[in-house]
Symmetry: C2
């Protein structure tokens, strides 16, 4: 894929997967809703939404991992039983936790609510967001092998 | 989910995502086809299939990562625009590369070909497989929030 096509592929995806590294150097991976902002220096943003306790704990783990190991990886992909239609975009970048009121937080909330109507009724604006920047993007698409 | 339900959820999934850690301690994540074998001490197996060069390189990276950091994480999840239907199972485990002729290789190939007809015409039996064992499983399912 071209860089433009890869960004478009990421932008339209409803779900991605975020890999982080814990304080013992072991990987963790979770599905996550996200929005991609910007064109020239795109950033990925994701909310820490209200969830039942088991997920709240997993989110706390994610935040703790990012604080100790800011380098993260995101995958956005398309699965199809016709393997000539497989495609993925992998994004590596530097993540940080942005609190309400800090630069970038309001834009992230706006973008997430624009993309996901589900967020409009959820109190995500009062919670930090994850912001991933300095993106390095690689992609692959099968071509009818 | 109960442990049995979590294993059933993983078993029926057509695609998962595998997170590894590179030799600089940074995470990487890729979509992967897999099979789950066994009940009491289940293992996850995945093929290193024939792919175009760009993917072959990514697979070599995966193998290198596993050799230097055997601890991996796998996520299997269901996305739905109705967020009361979201669910995921995360598996952490110890991965190793198993060559043709070594214990577990033939069973892995058989299971992968049984699950994915696509593999039946591919020369995966001549290539190593990834075997993930000592699984630690956590799961979450939304319950109509």
């Amino acid at each position: 894929m071209t860089a433009t096509a890869a960004l478009a592929f990421v932008r339209q995806a409803r779900i991605g997967h975020l890999a982080t590294v814990d304080d013992r150097g072991r990987p963790s991976v979770v599905p996550f809703c996200f929005a991609l902002l910007g064109e020239d220096e795109p950033v990925v943003v994701s909310a820490l939404d209200e969830k039942p306790k088991s997920v709240a704990d997993a989110e706390l783990a994610r935040v703790r991992h990012i604080r100790s190991h800011p380098e993260v990886a995101v995958i956005v992909d398309r699965y199809d039983e016709d393997w000539s239609r497989l495609a993925w975009v992998q994004i590596k970048g530097h993540a940080r936790i942005v609190a309400p009121g800090e630069d970038g937080h309001a834009d992230a909330i706006t973008a997430l609510r624009a993309k996901y109507p589900q967020y409009r009724a959820m109190a995500i604006a009062q919670r930090p967001v994850i912001l991933i920047e300095r993106l390095r993007i690689t992609s692959w698409a099968a071509t009818g092998r």
